[in-house]
């Protein structure tokens, strides 16, 4: 069928089952946007390309589908960079389509030209500059295939302006032929048997699971594995929700702001079964003190993660869901009773804790606990980055995967709110709450217009401590309380800011006001901004100082 490049893009998106895209138009994508207009493809117009990228990312994390974002050339494309890097670090499937100047202009420093394929080389799984129209269908087919298979990630397609208007024959390929790209899904059977034997023999085994479990949809298998083999579980920040919080053997998050039980279990275990996790420095602390008593079994779809940070005794490359299924067939439970008793006593005796006095300033943990209580744990939570993110991870108890959407690897302030918009687009009927900091929220607060225009009922809970809280905390602990540039006093009145966008704004300053505000927000049909004025002195505890052992926990030792 004969059509122009822009029409081809729309046909490719249709063939890939894309029913919504996020984006922002501009000079180099006018032809593409003209086709979007004619075809009526659902398009969510953000107010900044970064917001569009994070929204596509949030959509992908909530739904499990590949998110699509469109931007123009030059500044449009460079504004996507943080969003693409964010998706790359957390292995989120994303296809970014950027306009490029017309082919004769490429390399001439033309108006709004940027070498976006060069710029995004280290932060995409792969990228393409289309130079021949006949390559467009194959490239789109490959891009979606690469983004959504193996270790998922972002792929960028750069589309010159003149190519969008050029006419050619369109045939969408039925399958991809990429001899250089063949992810391994099935684990090596010999390795799986070895793992089963090691697990049966272990006296103090621990499951350490991460975002790979969410990505692979292996939460049911993970829970079955833990229950059947009677092995306690700790999950990383990006894995939260893949194990129900109420589960008896669940220890919470490990690492820098992890639980006493999780960190001590890691340090005392004789076997660690890492499932779709990558031994990030925020988890391991100082590497030569990490899990010194344990052998490691590492199950991951990315061979490059195995042996990257820790020595692995039994590597298994494969999709964690498929590997866990095979492992379950071969597994016989070992004798872990004494170990479980020990670990569960840590869990019981050293829980996370905070104290909210009735007349004292609001504790951020209390606010998050109330959000949890009043939503019955059933909301999709997104967060920004900083103290509030850690408190959300600690105190919003999750029951299901894909309900905790947070920037783990890149740690992007400003992610949470646009990601909540994306999640709400994926699930219009569910409660989506963005737990934000006053600093982070201001990094993408322009997206209030997006939420308002599409009447996306996202609820934003700003944990407002008038500081870049995590920076302030590090300055207090490690820089002699010299609060260099971390005070954000003078930020806008968030209630008025919301109202300026036509969004409901609410404020709580006291313990009594918190549930009233949350209830009012949940009963509001449209978007709401809740401003919680909290105690600026509060710190995230426990805390492991950077590059120390994870059992040296500030505020973790007193029961």
């Amino acid at each position: 069928m004969k059509m122009n490049g822009a029409q081809m893009v729309l046909s490719c998106l249709e063939a890939e089952g894309v029913d919504v895209v996020f984006g922002y138009p501009g000079g180099a994508v006018l032809t593409l946007y003209d086709e979007i207009y004619k075809k009526g493809l659902r398009h969510i117009l953000a107010r900044h390309e970064q917001g569009a990228a994070h929204a596509a990312d949030g959509y992908a994390r909530a739904s499990g589908k590949t998110g699509v974002v469109i931007a123009t050339s030059g500044p449009g494309a460079t504004n996507l960079v943080t969003g693409i890097a964010n998706a790359y670090m957390d292995s989120i499937p994303l296809v970014a389509i950027t306009g490029q100047v017309a082919r004769p202009g490429i390399g001439t420093d033309a108006f709004q030209e940027a070498d976006i394929t060069g710029i995004t080389l280290p932060i995409t799984k792969h990228n393409y500059l289309i130079t021949e129209l006949q390559e467009l269908p194959r490239i789109f087919k490959e891009a979606f295939h690469i983004a959504g298979t193996g270790r998922k990630g972002p792929v960028l397609i750069d589309l010159p302006k003149d190519l969008q208007a050029e006419e050619g024959e369109f045939v969408y390929p039925e399958r991809v032929e990429m001899p250089t790209y063949r992810p391994v899904y099935e684990g090596h059977m010999g390795q799986v048997s070895k793992a089963a034997t090691a697990i049966r023999k272990a006296k103090k085994p621990l499951i350490y699971s991460g975002g790979g479990v969410v990505s692979s949809g292996a939460h049911a298998e993970l829970l079955e594995f833990s229950q059947y083999a009677r092995i306690p579980v700790t999950t990383t920040l990006t894995g939260l929700g893949s194990i129900p919080c109420q589960y008896e053997y669940y220890l919470g998050m490990p690492g820098m702001h992890g639980t006493y039980a999780a960190n001590h279990a890691i340090s005392n275990a004789d076997l660690i079964i890492a499932v779709g996790a990558r031994f990030d420095d925020r988890v391991t602390g100082r590497l030569d003190t990490f899990a010194v008593n344990a052998q490691v079994i590492h199950i991951d779809i990315d061979p490059a993660e195995i042996g990257k940070n820790v020595i692995v005794a039994i590597p298994i490359v494969g999709d964690v869901k498929m590997v866990l299924r095979e492992l379950l067939k071969k597994l016989k439970p070992g004798d872990t009773a004494a170990w479980c008793k020990q670990v569960l006593s840590w869990k019981k005796d050293r829980p996370l804790r905070y104290q909210q006095m009735p007349d004292a300033p609001l504790k951020p943990q209390f606010v998050i606990n109330e959000l949890y209580r009043l939503t019955a744990g059933d909301a999709i939570i997104t967060t920004d980055v900083g103290q509030h993110q850690m408190w959300a991870a600690q105190y919003y108890h999750l029951e299901r995967p894909r309900t905790f959407i947070t920037s783990g690897g890149l740690g992007t302030m400003g992610f949470g709110f646009p990601a909540a918009i994306g999640a709400q687009v994926a699930f219009p009927g569910r409660t989506v709450i963005c737990i934000a900091g006053d600093g982070s929220f201001q990094m993408n607060s322009q997206e209030l217009a997006t939420a308002a225009c599409y009447n996306l009922p996202v609820k934003v809970a700003i944990i407002n401590n008038q500081y870049l809280g995590m920076v302030r905390q590090w300055q207090e602990f490690f820089y002699g309380s010299r609060y260099s540039q971390s005070c954000l006093a003078g930020s806008p009145d968030f209630v008025k800011l919301a109202e300026a966008y036509g969004v409901v704004g609410l404020r709580a300053r006291t313990v009594d006001e918190v549930p009233e505000v949350i209830k009012a927000a949940l009963q509001t049909a449209g978007p709401v901004v809740m401003d919680f004025s909290v105690d600026p002195q509060e710190n995230v505890l426990p805390m492991v100082a950077p590059n120390t052992s994870i059992v040296e926990m500030i505020g973790g030792d007193t029961p």
């Binding site: 060069g118 280290p122 792969h126 250089t180 490059a304 042996g307």
Partner: protein, 166 residues
């Protein structure tokens, strides 16, 4: 230590950038790199010499394998292989020194490929050790300029790089 990687890649725009970019981004230092065609249309071969320990190189190989345009990566260091570099040396050659230079060129099985009134260009191939030794001898006469390729290597015996391990 020095390790030699043979990398088969699809011959697409930007592939060299992707490969060299990966090395620099992950902090691995390339000593030299040679890129050329293969007998398969559309496939190029890179030979990269990198200074790193075994664990680091294992990580490099895994990361390279993740690049979509990379077909095969093989660490030739521990395999039986032959490697050669080519070097062109422009050496000062006053008429009275020419026969001395010619003698040295013969000893090293090098070749004189250009002569001018006061200089010569010598072409020499070999492994790094031979090239170093030859350069040392040429320094006596005065080297004006050198140009050299990176190392190119093949496995000994009938096995091809595609058939090599990992």
């Amino acid at each position: 230590m020095k390790r030699i990687l043979a990398i088969l890649v699809e011959d697409r725009p930007g592939v060299l950038t992707r490969v060299s970019g990966l090395f620099s981004r992950r902090g691995y230092n390339i000593q030299n790199i040679a890129v050329g065609r293969t007998i398969e249309p559309g496939i190029s071969r890179m030979t990269v010499t990198v200074e790193a320990d075994r664990l680091t190189v294992e990580q490099v190989v895994k990361q390279l394998n993740k690049l979509v345009n990379v077909l095969k990566v093989s660490d030739l260091t521990d395999e039986s292989s032959v490697g050669r570099e080519l070097m062109l040396i422009k050496v000062k050659a006053e008429p009275e020194k020419r026969s001395d230079i010619q003698q040295m060129v013969a000893t090293f099985r090098a070749k004189i490929i250009d002569v001018s009134p006061d200089s010569m260009i010598v072409e020499v191939t070999g492994d790094e050790g031979k090239l170093q030794a030859f350069m040392l001898m040429m320094q006596e006469f005065g080297i004006k300029e050198i140009a050299s390729t990176g190392n190119v290597s093949l496995l000994r015996g009938g096995r091809t790089t595609r058939e090599a391990r990992g």
